[in-house]
Every structure is written in structure tokens, then in C-alpha cells.
Symmetry: C2
Subunit: 233 residues, 2 copies
């Protein structure tokens, strides 16, 4: 799929004419200078994709003829990562881009006891997820949840594995050994790590403590290592 790939949240499920969003219209007609008759592919980020043949190119209202619809279903298992905000916002955004490329299904911005600052930019972050999804030719956009406090998230009912990565000693498992028939939610703490109380809370909630390797990783690096290992378990 190497024709230009666009995201349209409200992509119709049936063939017919469709007017691209202003952002897509501009990208199509101004940036890529596409002409009527040329084709793009589109997704709604929910597994639906189709081809769009340009009928008219306009920087605000480019019209395409939609056809060849496909609806994919998510490949299991679902992998979600709850990761603490870090001081440097750029590192968080970088994590979101990379973990999306790697195929993580959902993100929970986490507010833990030692989280030093929060900087939730929903619109900007959604844009990063969309770009990374298109970049990596995927038709599913990860779900970006609202920021949540650790003690709230930990109490929510969860199907599948609850996993936690922390730097304290204690028995830990390799992610590769986690049964992959079930979804997993992995918890990553802030620069100062999870507090002993939070680790205890997670244990009581049935969390499996996991090992991300021998070196000490930054929060966002731990997030990426976890993303790769979750996808390859």
C-alpha cells in the first residue's frame, strides 16, 4: 500500500462520493499536488480501509470516490501500556509515536505518587498517534485514555494480565513468558519509580512483576522495551 494513506475518522462504510476533511484536502491537493483520477487509501483508525479516487482536488474540499472497502479485526492479544508522565514532554510524545508504530493498542497517561508533572495535550497526542499509525501502515489507531491516577486505574476491573515494571528487587518474570492468549496492561512508573505502597497495591491487585532487562532504563525507554516485548510475547 504505497499510494498516499489518509486518516478520516468519519470514513463512510459504503462506496460513494466523500469529501475529505480540510486537513486531508490540503495535504492531497496542495502538498502532494494530486489530480482528479489519482488514488489515495484511507482508514478510520478502527480497522476500516478503502481506496479513494480523486474526483475533484480542492485545498478545502477534495472529493473522492470511495470503493474497495475492507474491515479488519484487531489481532489479539490486545496490549495496553499505562505510563507515568515524565518531566520532559518530548520524551512522552516520542514514546507515543514509537509504541504506536510497534502496534500497542491503548495508552493510559498515568499519575503515580512520584509523578512530578502532568502535561496532557490530547489533541496534539492524538495527532501523533494518527501520524504514527499512517506511517506504519496500520488501520487501527491506539486508544488514548484520559490521564488516570495509579490508585484509580489499579482498582478497575481488568480482563487479562496486569503487569508492572519497577526497579525494586523481588521476583520478576520475562514478558516473553506471559501467556499471549490474553490481553495485557503493563504499568510503567515515573523517573523516581513506583513507591513501595504502589508496588504493594499492584501485588494485591494480582499484578505480575516483569523484568525488562539488566540495564536501568528511563521511563520512556522502558515503555518502548515493554511495547516490543509485549508485541513479541
Amino acid at each position: 500500500m504505497d499510494i498516499p494513506f489518509f486518516y478520516e475518522a468519519d470514513l463512510p462504510v459504503t462506496p460513494g462520493l466523500f469529501t475529505l476533511s480540510e486537513e486531508s484536502s490540503k495535504h492531497c491537493s496542495v502538498v502532494l499536488r494530486m489530480q482528479p483520477g489519482e488514488s489515495i487509501s484511507l482508514t478510520n483508525g478502527l480497522g476500516l480501509s478503502c481506496i479513494g479516487k480523486l474526483v475533484s482536488a480542492d485545498k478545502k474540499k477534495t472529493v473522492v470516490q470511495l470503493f474497495d472497502h475492507k474491515q479488519e479485526s484487531r489481532t489479539n492479544p490486545q496490549n495496553s501500556i499505562a505510563i507515568s508522565f515524565v518531566k520532559n514532554a518530548a520524551r512522552m510524545e516520542w514514546f507515543l509515536e514509537k509504541a504506536t508504530e510497534i502496534g500497542i493498542d491503548a495508552f493510559y497517561p498515568l499519575i503515580a505518587e512520584r509523578t512530578e508533572r502532568t502535561h496532557f495535550k490530547k489533541e496534539r497526542w492524538e495527532h501523533i498517534l494518527v501520524s504514527a499509525m499512517l506511517q506504519s501502515k496500520q488501520v487501527f489507531k491506539p486508544v488514548l485514555h484520559e490521564p488516570v491516577e495509579f490508585k484509580i486505574l489499579i482498582q478497575q476491573p481488568l480482563e487479562g494480565h496486569l503487569l508492572m515494571a519497577h526497579c525494586e528487587n523481588g521476583p520478576k518474570q520475562l514478558i516473553q513468558s506471559i501467556d499471549k492468549s490474553k490481553p495485557a496492561l503493563l504499568l510503567i512508573g515515573p523517573e523516581g519509580d513506583f513507591s513501595p505502597a504502589e508496588i504493594l497495591m499492584a501485588e494485591k491487585a494480582g499484578a505480575t512483576m516483569i523484568n525488562l532487562g539488566v540495564t536501568r532504563l528511563r521511563t520512556e525507554t522502558a515503555g518502548i522495551a515493554a511495547a516490543v516485548l509485549l508485541q513479541h510475547r
Copy 2:
């Protein structure tokens, strides 16, 4: 090891007085405002580490008393990554930081047929490796090789596994299945991927083609995914 951690390439192997480099002296005395009697830890990036007790704090010549030397040996297997330059230099530097945190032993900046630009900044990159090594509490600094052309590198004698990641179809193995008793060198191509000729060259050189997952990854993301999987094989 949560006392301040410093890199000194010429760290003496025996106890005694040692004058820190100007950069370390400044960081110690000005940034951290450390006083005589306080302790730091040091490494030469080659497995040697020791404690240094401040004798005098000076922004240019801070003197420490060295003791408690330890020499670690590298944990096998050695994992090296040869990765093409990418257009965006910041993405390459980001890869170097993350792959160092994860524990990769050596890097080869690669010039492949479709590599669009090269931007080797040896001093700056070495600094990134040192920072990431200290950040992740490691005592081995990865080896940063000079940029090398793909067809030169591929002809060099190699002990261990030669692995290649590319986006073309064909049989591929999972890194996790690669025997970990031997070192590995993994090849990652540019944005435009390796050329068919390069893939053929690698096959002739005995390379194993590896699979980094179902999604299409940017060069630097593929590098990180490979780093994580190599370290966890």
C-alpha cells in the same frame, strides 16, 4: 549506585589520588556543588569502576581519592547494530541513546545504496553514548565505529550471526529464535530499505533475514525493536 556517576576514559586501575577531567570537575563542584569528603563513582566505560572521595573541589581540577576498584567483564553475547543514516539526524541520535540504555555493545553507522545523507558527528555521538551509559548505570560504553559502506561491511570476517532486517517478502526468522551463545551483528537499512542487490549480497554472506513484527517501522524504530529483541533473545 545512586551517588553521582562519572565517566573518565583514563581512570587509573589502582587506588590513589586522581584529578577529574575539566568537564567532570565542573559538574562535580559547580553543578552538584559537592564538597570534600563526599563520594562519587566512576567508570572508564570498559568495565572498570571505583569510588572517588573528593579531596578538593575545584571547577577545573577536582581531586578525588580512588578506592574500591572493580573490573567487570562484558556479558555475552555481544550485540552490534549496523544502521543506515536517516534523513533526520535527531532520530539517529535518539536511536543511539536508547540502544545504549538497552545495552547494545557496538554501532556501525551504515552507508547503504539508498542512504540519502550522512551526518556523522563523532564527538557529539560519543557524548550521547557516555550520557546514556551513565544514565543507565552501565560500566561499558558501546563502541562507535566509523561510518562504513554496506558492501565493505558485508565483506568483513564476522564471528557469530549476521542478521538483516528488510521490508521485502521472503522467509524470515524471529530474533528470539537466534542462538544466543554467539554474538550477533544486525543490519538495518535506510528509509527506502535495502536494495534487492544488497539483500542478495547479505544472503550470499550468510545473513539470516529476521522479522521485527507485523507493522512497518521507521529505521530508528526498527533499530530499537532489534536492540530490545537482541538483548532478550
